[in-house]
Protein backbone atom coordinates (compact mmCIF):
# COMPACT_ATOMS: atom_id res chain seq x y z
CA UNK A 1 0.00 0.00 0.00
CA UNK A 2 2.75 2.41 1.00
CA UNK A 3 4.70 1.44 -2.10
CA UNK A 4 1.65 2.00 -4.29
CA UNK A 5 1.12 5.40 -2.73
CA UNK A 6 4.76 6.28 -3.28
CA UNK A 7 4.42 5.22 -6.92
CA UNK A 8 1.38 7.49 -7.28
CA UNK A 9 3.25 10.38 -5.71
CA UNK A 10 6.20 9.79 -8.04
CA UNK A 11 3.90 9.86 -11.04
CA UNK A 12 2.21 13.06 -9.86
CA UNK A 13 5.64 14.62 -9.27
CA UNK A 14 6.77 13.54 -12.73
CA UNK A 15 3.78 15.30 -14.27
CA UNK A 16 4.40 18.42 -12.18
CA UNK A 17 8.07 18.51 -13.14
CA UNK A 18 7.52 18.00 -16.87
CA UNK A 19 8.22 21.07 -18.96
CA UNK A 20 5.86 23.98 -18.36
CA UNK A 21 5.07 25.83 -21.57
CA UNK A 22 6.18 29.48 -21.74
CA UNK A 23 3.61 32.23 -22.35
CA UNK A 24 3.06 32.77 -26.03
CA UNK A 25 1.70 36.17 -27.16
CA UNK A 26 1.18 34.83 -30.68
CA UNK A 27 -1.20 32.23 -29.24
CA UNK A 28 -3.23 34.96 -27.48
CA UNK A 29 -3.35 36.93 -30.74
CA UNK A 30 -4.56 33.84 -32.66
CA UNK A 31 -7.36 33.27 -30.13
CA UNK A 32 -8.34 36.95 -30.36
CA UNK A 33 -8.36 36.65 -34.16
CA UNK A 34 -10.66 33.61 -34.07
CA UNK A 35 -13.04 35.35 -31.67
CA UNK A 36 -13.09 38.47 -33.87
CA UNK A 37 -13.90 36.28 -36.87
CA UNK A 38 -16.78 34.64 -34.96
CA UNK A 39 -18.11 38.07 -34.01
CA UNK A 40 -17.98 39.28 -37.61
CA UNK A 41 -19.74 36.10 -38.72
CA UNK A 42 -22.49 36.61 -36.11
CA UNK A 43 -23.02 40.19 -37.26
CA UNK A 44 -22.85 39.37 -40.95
CA UNK A 45 -25.25 36.42 -40.82
CA UNK A 46 -28.56 38.40 -40.55
CA UNK A 47 -27.40 40.80 -43.29
CA UNK A 48 -26.43 37.84 -45.46
CA UNK A 49 -29.77 36.12 -44.89
CA UNK A 50 -31.66 39.31 -45.77
CA UNK A 51 -29.58 39.66 -48.94
CA UNK A 52 -30.31 36.04 -49.85
CA UNK A 53 -34.02 36.62 -49.29
CA UNK A 54 -33.99 39.69 -51.54
CA UNK A 55 -32.04 37.75 -54.15
CA UNK A 56 -34.58 34.92 -53.99
CA UNK A 57 -37.46 37.40 -54.44
CA UNK A 58 -35.66 39.07 -57.35
CA UNK A 59 -34.88 35.71 -58.98
CA UNK A 60 -38.46 34.50 -58.66
CA UNK A 61 -40.08 37.88 -59.31
CA UNK A 62 -42.99 36.89 -61.65
CA UNK A 63 -44.08 34.08 -59.30
CA UNK A 64 -43.56 36.24 -56.19
CA UNK A 65 -45.60 39.06 -57.80
CA UNK A 66 -48.46 36.70 -58.69
CA UNK A 67 -48.38 35.25 -55.17
CA UNK A 68 -48.47 38.71 -53.55
CA UNK A 69 -51.36 39.87 -55.77
CA UNK A 70 -53.33 36.68 -55.04
CA UNK A 71 -52.68 36.93 -51.28
CA UNK A 72 -53.72 40.62 -51.23
CA UNK A 73 -56.79 39.84 -53.33
CA UNK A 74 -57.76 37.18 -50.79
CA UNK A 75 -57.39 39.61 -47.88
CA UNK A 76 -59.38 42.31 -49.71
CA UNK A 77 -62.10 39.79 -50.55
CA UNK A 78 -62.45 38.85 -46.86
CA UNK A 79 -62.54 42.54 -45.83
CA UNK A 80 -65.14 43.26 -48.51
CA UNK A 81 -67.32 40.33 -47.34
CA UNK A 82 -67.12 41.49 -43.70
CA UNK A 83 -68.07 45.07 -44.68
CA UNK A 84 -71.04 43.84 -46.70
CA UNK A 85 -72.22 41.68 -43.80
CA UNK A 86 -72.02 44.44 -41.19
CA UNK A 87 -73.90 46.94 -43.38
CA UNK A 88 -76.85 44.50 -43.83
CA UNK A 89 -79.73 44.52 -41.22
CA UNK A 90 -78.61 41.10 -39.88
CA UNK A 91 -75.05 42.36 -39.59
CA UNK A 92 -76.12 45.52 -37.72
CA UNK A 93 -78.16 43.38 -35.31
CA UNK A 94 -75.20 41.02 -34.82
CA UNK A 95 -72.87 43.98 -34.15
CA UNK A 96 -75.26 45.46 -31.57
CA UNK A 97 -75.59 42.08 -29.79
CA UNK A 98 -71.81 41.68 -29.84
CA UNK A 99 -71.22 45.17 -28.40
CA UNK A 100 -73.84 44.66 -25.67
CA UNK A 101 -72.28 41.29 -24.75
CA UNK A 102 -68.82 42.85 -24.47
CA UNK A 103 -70.15 45.76 -22.39
CA UNK A 104 -72.00 43.39 -20.06
CA UNK A 105 -68.93 41.17 -19.71
CA UNK A 106 -66.77 44.21 -18.90
CA UNK A 107 -69.27 45.48 -16.29
CA UNK A 108 -69.47 42.02 -14.72
CA UNK A 109 -65.69 41.68 -14.70
CA UNK A 110 -65.21 45.07 -13.01
CA UNK A 111 -67.83 44.18 -10.41
CA UNK A 112 -66.21 40.85 -9.61
CA UNK A 113 -62.80 42.53 -9.39
CA UNK A 114 -64.21 45.23 -7.11
CA UNK A 115 -65.61 42.57 -4.79
CA UNK A 116 -62.25 40.81 -4.66
CA UNK A 117 -60.44 44.04 -3.73
Amino acid sequence: MAEAMSDDTDLTRLFAESAVLPDDDAFVARVAGRIAWRKRLTLAMPVGLAALLLLAVWASWPAAYAFSVNALSGVMLIADSLATFFTSPTGILAAVVLLLTVAFWAWLFERVRGEQI
Binding site: D8, L11, F15, F27, V31, I35, R38
Partner: protein, 161 residues
Amino acid sequence: MVTLAALGDDRAFAELVRRRQATVRGMLRRLSGDPSLADDLAQETFVQAWRTLAQLRNAAAFGGWLKQVAVRVWLQHARRAKLLLEPLSEADESAAPEFADRLDLERALERLNPSQRLCVVLSYGEGLSHGEIADSTGWPLGTVKSHVARGGARLKQWLKP
Protein backbone atom coordinates in the same frame (compact mmCIF):
# COMPACT_ATOMS: atom_id res chain seq x y z
CA MET B 1 -11.39 39.35 -14.32
CA VAL B 2 -13.71 36.41 -15.08
CA THR B 3 -16.79 38.51 -14.32
CA LEU B 4 -15.56 41.31 -16.59
CA ALA B 5 -14.88 38.81 -19.38
CA ALA B 6 -18.35 37.29 -18.93
CA LEU B 7 -19.81 40.78 -19.36
CA GLY B 8 -18.14 41.02 -22.76
CA ASP B 9 -14.86 42.77 -21.93
CA ASP B 10 -12.48 41.54 -24.65
CA ARG B 11 -9.35 42.78 -22.87
CA ALA B 12 -10.30 40.88 -19.72
CA PHE B 13 -10.83 37.71 -21.75
CA ALA B 14 -7.48 38.19 -23.51
CA GLU B 15 -5.84 38.44 -20.07
CA LEU B 16 -7.55 35.20 -19.02
CA VAL B 17 -6.21 33.53 -22.18
CA ARG B 18 -2.72 34.84 -21.38
CA ARG B 19 -2.85 33.48 -17.84
CA ARG B 20 -4.39 30.07 -18.61
CA GLN B 21 -2.87 29.25 -21.98
CA ALA B 22 0.11 27.30 -20.62
CA THR B 23 -2.12 24.98 -18.57
CA VAL B 24 -4.58 24.30 -21.39
CA ARG B 25 -1.93 23.90 -24.08
CA GLY B 26 0.17 21.66 -21.83
CA MET B 27 -2.78 19.42 -21.02
CA LEU B 28 -3.80 19.11 -24.66
CA ARG B 29 -0.20 18.42 -25.73
CA ARG B 30 -0.07 15.51 -23.30
CA LEU B 31 -3.39 14.25 -24.63
CA SER B 32 -2.61 14.60 -28.32
CA GLY B 33 1.17 14.20 -28.41
CA ASP B 34 1.19 16.74 -31.25
CA PRO B 35 2.11 20.38 -30.39
CA SER B 36 0.48 21.82 -33.50
CA LEU B 37 -2.79 19.93 -33.04
CA ALA B 38 -2.76 20.73 -29.31
CA ASP B 39 -2.43 24.47 -30.00
CA ASP B 40 -5.30 24.30 -32.49
CA LEU B 41 -7.49 22.49 -29.95
CA ALA B 42 -6.45 24.96 -27.24
CA GLN B 43 -7.57 27.84 -29.46
CA GLU B 44 -10.91 26.09 -30.00
CA THR B 45 -11.15 25.59 -26.21
CA PHE B 46 -10.79 29.33 -25.58
CA VAL B 47 -13.26 30.19 -28.36
CA GLN B 48 -15.83 27.80 -26.85
CA ALA B 49 -15.10 29.24 -23.39
CA TRP B 50 -15.69 32.75 -24.77
CA ARG B 51 -19.03 31.67 -26.26
CA THR B 52 -20.29 29.97 -23.08
CA LEU B 53 -18.63 32.04 -20.35
CA ALA B 54 -21.94 33.72 -19.43
CA GLN B 55 -23.22 30.28 -18.29
CA LEU B 56 -20.49 30.02 -15.61
CA ARG B 57 -22.20 30.77 -12.29
CA ASN B 58 -19.15 30.80 -9.99
CA ALA B 59 -16.25 32.91 -11.25
CA ALA B 60 -13.88 31.22 -8.78
CA ALA B 61 -14.46 27.89 -10.53
CA PHE B 62 -13.15 29.22 -13.85
CA GLY B 63 -9.99 27.08 -13.86
CA GLY B 64 -11.81 23.77 -13.39
CA TRP B 65 -14.55 24.80 -15.79
CA LEU B 66 -11.96 25.67 -18.46
CA LYS B 67 -10.40 22.21 -18.07
CA GLN B 68 -13.83 20.67 -18.60
CA VAL B 69 -14.23 22.69 -21.80
CA ALA B 70 -10.79 21.49 -22.94
CA VAL B 71 -11.78 17.87 -22.22
CA ARG B 72 -14.97 18.31 -24.25
CA VAL B 73 -13.00 19.77 -27.16
CA TRP B 74 -10.52 16.89 -26.96
CA LEU B 75 -13.34 14.30 -26.88
CA GLN B 76 -15.01 15.95 -29.91
CA HIS B 77 -11.72 15.75 -31.78
CA ALA B 78 -11.13 12.15 -30.65
CA ARG B 79 -14.58 11.09 -31.83
CA ARG B 80 -14.08 12.79 -35.19
CA ALA B 81 -10.71 11.09 -35.56
CA LYS B 82 -12.17 7.83 -34.16
CA LEU B 83 -9.36 7.73 -31.59
CA LEU B 84 -11.37 6.21 -28.76
CA LEU B 85 -12.78 3.56 -31.08
CA GLU B 86 -9.38 2.10 -31.78
CA PRO B 87 -8.02 0.65 -28.55
CA LEU B 88 -4.65 -1.08 -28.65
CA SER B 89 -4.69 -4.85 -28.60
CA GLU B 90 -3.71 -6.63 -25.39
CA ALA B 91 -0.38 -7.60 -26.97
CA ASP B 92 0.39 -3.99 -27.88
CA GLU B 93 -0.67 -2.77 -24.45
CA SER B 94 1.54 -5.16 -22.56
CA ALA B 95 4.62 -4.65 -24.71
CA ALA B 96 7.27 -2.53 -23.02
CA PRO B 97 8.25 0.36 -25.30
CA GLU B 98 11.83 0.96 -26.31
CA PHE B 99 12.74 4.32 -24.81
CA ALA B 100 16.14 5.85 -25.31
CA ASP B 101 15.88 7.24 -21.82
CA ARG B 102 13.34 5.52 -19.64
CA LEU B 103 12.01 8.71 -18.14
CA ASP B 104 10.29 10.28 -21.14
CA LEU B 105 6.80 11.00 -19.86
CA GLU B 106 5.47 12.43 -23.12
CA ARG B 107 6.52 9.40 -25.13
CA ALA B 108 5.18 7.02 -22.51
CA LEU B 109 1.82 8.80 -22.61
CA GLU B 110 1.71 8.46 -26.40
CA ARG B 111 1.88 4.69 -25.95
CA LEU B 112 -1.24 4.60 -23.81
CA ASN B 113 -4.71 3.91 -25.17
CA PRO B 114 -6.34 7.37 -25.75
CA SER B 115 -9.05 6.76 -23.15
CA GLN B 116 -6.48 5.70 -20.54
CA ARG B 117 -4.25 8.62 -21.51
CA LEU B 118 -7.10 11.07 -20.94
CA CYS B 119 -7.93 9.62 -17.52
CA VAL B 120 -4.27 9.43 -16.43
CA VAL B 121 -3.51 13.01 -17.55
CA LEU B 122 -6.59 14.37 -15.78
CA SER B 123 -5.93 12.36 -12.63
CA TYR B 124 -2.15 12.67 -12.19
CA GLY B 125 -1.46 15.75 -14.30
CA GLU B 126 -4.43 17.96 -13.48
CA GLY B 127 -5.29 16.55 -10.05
CA LEU B 128 -8.94 15.79 -10.83
CA SER B 129 -10.78 13.21 -8.73
CA HIS B 130 -12.28 10.13 -10.37
CA GLY B 131 -15.75 11.63 -9.93
CA GLU B 132 -14.71 14.89 -11.61
CA ILE B 133 -13.20 12.94 -14.53
CA ALA B 134 -16.42 10.94 -14.86
CA ASP B 135 -18.39 14.23 -14.91
CA SER B 136 -16.10 15.79 -17.51
CA THR B 137 -15.99 12.81 -19.85
CA GLY B 138 -19.49 11.43 -19.30
CA TRP B 139 -18.02 7.97 -18.74
CA PRO B 140 -19.14 5.67 -15.88
CA LEU B 141 -17.13 6.01 -12.66
CA GLY B 142 -16.03 2.36 -12.82
CA THR B 143 -14.61 2.85 -16.32
CA VAL B 144 -12.69 5.94 -15.18
CA LYS B 145 -11.24 4.11 -12.16
CA SER B 146 -10.21 1.21 -14.37
CA HIS B 147 -8.56 3.52 -16.93
CA VAL B 148 -6.67 5.43 -14.23
CA ALA B 149 -5.51 2.23 -12.51
CA ARG B 150 -4.44 0.39 -15.67
CA GLY B 151 -2.95 3.43 -17.37
CA GLY B 152 -1.15 4.49 -14.21
CA ALA B 153 0.26 0.99 -13.69
CA ARG B 154 1.61 0.90 -17.26
CA LEU B 155 3.22 4.31 -16.92
CA LYS B 156 4.86 3.31 -13.64
CA GLN B 157 6.16 0.12 -15.26
CA TRP B 158 7.53 1.95 -18.28
CA LEU B 159 9.00 4.87 -16.38
CA LYS B 160 10.62 2.80 -13.64
CA PRO B 161 14.34 3.68 -13.63
